[in-house]
């Protein structure tokens, strides 16, 4: 009988091209996603060394980081952004790589389009020059972000030398039904709050437990997406019926006999009984409250019912210093309740929470209500397809009637590379993934929240506990 293996070990072993003792293993890459920001220097490297793209059929490019989210028929105002996008188009043409440009209906955030096209499948290795590649781990694929030199390496060889990471189980315990007003975003924020932004450095995390099993694919993607925020190399969720049902019939999913063959393999992709992880972290979801970040990294997060912490709450001098810096940047006084903080902006979107299910939830909660006149609230669909689907379902009408700014697809204010940025000092509730200093705009202040928390905040003009808010607003 073979040794019991974790899901990670199974995927890893299935992709080792060669491994010499004392060297990293050479890992085969099944899918390479490319975008405009981290690829130009990689293509240039290929040109300089007279190398080609080994497998254009396993490479897909799109534009997302830089793209305007306003009317696509207008010219792009930012000339440098326009040049970077044009460079991607030119490079893809030269090297035979498929690219979804701004005119393509399939354009969107790279981590939204892979899954929606059915390109992301269980058991694969997926890389992209983007740290949120961990998103694809929700399908039981080993997916991780790489740098531009590694992008060039994968373009040229379809492989990557990799040292084997350790394994961490993040076991979410509970009945499987999340408390009202609590989402998978709150689970992952709470996990990061518990273990810190370097808590999973050097590990591939596998999320297990009944509450994870009960989540939709979209909610699972939100969890795996933010694995990097805990420092993890990748996040994984074993595929199951939810995964297979999501994939079936998607444009790039296998069909007919091939589907059956693939399914037989995919069903083996789970951690065997008796297999061990290098470490395990446990979190109970049954008593979880909606989470809000208060500081300048995603580990600085607390339940909405909490107060802004004081540097004195920490014993570690480094933590004390980090906390006092964060409070100063965020313009917060220790002891202030998080609930009630006044906001200037709300952003709903990103590869963390810009999928159709997120928008349905947002529409459900904002139907018949009005965005507070004291702030500006933006909804940016994660892809062109998400946008069209939302419009087909009439969600855009709900948003517009409520006073939300309904935009074109892209990364938008998650990182503010395009014109969607915070002004200095503005406070924003955001469904994105990073609250670093300046992330959404120089001196902008970001509070990471779930979609329901962002909607309630937009309508009230301040951070509120969505659990109570939703109850009070029932029937209004």
């Amino acid at each position: 009988m073979s040794k019991p293996q974790t899901l990670f070990e199974k995927i890893w072993d299935a992709h080792v091209v060669r491994h010499e003792e004392g060297q990293p293993a050479l890992l085969y890459v099944d899918l390479h996603l490319v975008h405009e920001v981290t690829s130009p220097q990689a293509f240039e490297g290929l040109r300089l060394t007279n190398r080609r793209v080994r497998r254009p059929d396993l490479t897909l490019a799109t534009m997302d980081h830089n793209v305007p989210t306003t009317d696509r028929s207008l010219p792009i105002v930012d000339a440098i952004s326009a040049k970077q996008m044009q460079t991607l188009s030119d490079n893809c043409r030269e090297f035979g790589v498929t690219v979804f440009d701004l005119k393509d209906p399939r354009q969107g955030i790279v981590h939204i389009i892979g899954p929606e096209l059915g390109l992301t499948q269980p058991g694969m290795t997926i890389v992209c020059g983007d740290s949120h590649t961990s998103t694809h781990g929700a399908f039981g694929a080993l997916a991780f972000g790489i740098g531009t030199s590694e992008v060039e390496h994968v373009l040229a060889t379809q492989t990557l030398p990799q040292s084997k990471p350790k394994t961490m189980e993040v076991r979410i315990e509970g009945t499987g039904k999340l408390p009202a007003g609590v989402t998978s975003k709150d689970i992952i924020l709470a996990v990061i709050g518990k273990i810190g932004t370097a808590g999973a450095t050097g590990y591939v995390v596998e999320y297990t437990g009944a509450p994870i099993r009960a989540l939709s694919m979209e909610a699972r993607m939100t969890i795996c997406n933010m694995s990097i925020e805990a420092g993890a190399r990748a996040g994984l969720i074993a595929p199951d019926e939810t995964t297979f049902n999501y994939l079936k019939g998607r444009p790039h999913a296998p069909q007919g006999e091939a589907w059956e063959e693939a399914l037989n393999y995919w069903q083996t992709l789970r951690t065997d009984e008796g297999a061990t992880y290098d470490t395990t972290v446990v979190l109970n979801a049954d008593d979880l409250a909606p989470q809000v970040s208060w500081g300048t990294n995603p580990g600085q997060v607390l339940p909405i019912t909490a107060r802004v912490p004081s540097p004195d709450d920490f014993s570690d001098p480094t933590e004390q210093k980090t906390t006092s810096r964060a409070l100063e940047y965020m313009g917060l006084e220790a002891g202030t309740p998080l609930e009630g903080l006044k906001l200037d902006r709300v952003f709903i979107g990103s590869c963390t929470n810009g999928r159709i299910e997120d928008l349905r939830l947002a529409a459900h909660l904002s139907e018949g209500k009005k965005v507070s006149p004291t702030l500006h609230a933006m909804i940016v669909p994660g892809s062109g397809q998400v946008k069209r689907q939302a419009e087909a379902e009439g969600l855009d009408k709900v948003f517009k009637e409520a006073g939300f700014d309904w935009r074109e697809a892209g990364c938008s204010m998650c990182l503010g590379m395009n014109p969607d940025i915070l002004e200095p000092g503005e406070r924003c509730a955001s469904t994105s993934n990073r609250n670093f200093e300046g992330r959404q705009g120089k001196d902008g202040r970001t509070h990471l929240v779930s979609v329901p928390m962002a909607v309630a905040a937009a309508i009230e003009g301040r951070l509120v506990d969505v659990r109570r808010w939703d109850k009070e607003n029932k029937g209004k």
Binding site: S81, Q84, L415
Partner: protein
């Protein structure tokens, strides 16, 4: 071989010494150690997003730590920023707090550190992708015990311009006062750093193995271009 007589063509600028040894090899280094006593310095701080739009690999040093380094005008150095101390001009070693380089995978972060003049970063821990990216660019990240980093940081703060010597072959860090300590580095990465070897060239020596692996992949494997 194709005979060569005359040629008219586009001249491509190649700002690398030669393509098989793409990186500058790293052996020993003596230089000023600049203290940056902050934890969780993320890549958004190392190089803010507005500077990621360039399509070149060079010239990013001017944007390093931009929001911390300059006043709102983007030109005037902020006197309160550690690295702006006049005695730290020309520093080649950066001393930093734990979890350095967290966040985004942008290789622009090591490019900007390298272009600014740093060749080595010493910290209690690094974020994973950033750590890999450093080795790709001949920038040596060294992990030392937090107490030791603190000790070096204090020396560097007490006497700005304090110098360290990094010896990669011997894996030691030392100073003129007799301080000396060894550090760990993966032997394979060390070999690459010492020789400035190009990863891609090394992998392509095993092209036969890659082709053999490809022939065993299942026919139903996901493809961007169906039927290609």
């Amino acid at each position: 071989m194709q005979p060569f007589t005359t040629l008219t063509g586009i001249a491509a600028p190649l700002d690398r010494a030669n393509v098989d040894n793409i990186m500058q090899p790293f052996t020993t280094l003596t230089g000023i150690a600049a203290p940056l006593d902050r934890a969780n310095v993320d890549t958004d701080q190392i190089i803010p997003k507005q500077f990621l739009k360039r399509i070149e690999r060079t010239g990013f040093g001017q944007f390093l730590f931009y929001d911390w380094r300059f006043e709102a005008d983007g030109i005037t150095p902020r006197p309160d920023f550690e690295l702006n101390h006049p005695a730290l001009a020309g520093a080649t070693i950066l001393l930093a707090g734990r979890n350095f380089g967290s966040g985004s995978s942008r290789e622009h972060a090591p490019w900007s550190l390298d272009d600014y003049g740093f060749r080595c970063i010493i910290a209690p821990s690094f974020a994973d992708i950033f750590y890999n990216n450093c080795f790709q660019n001949g920038l040596l990240p060294i992990v030392l015990d937090e107490a030791v980093v603190k000790q070096l940081m204090q020396k560097a703060q007490a006497s700005p311009g304090y110098q360290l010597t990094i010896d990669l072959p011997q894996q030691t860090i030392s100073d003129a006062d007799g301080f000396s300590i060894t550090f760990e580095v993966d032997p394979f990465r060390k070999h690459r750093m010492l020789n400035g070897l190009d990863d891609i060239g090394m992998t392509l020596q095993h092209e036969g193995d890659i082709t053999a692996f490809e022939q065993k992949r299942p026919a139903w494997s996901s493809r961007v271009t169906a039927g290609a």
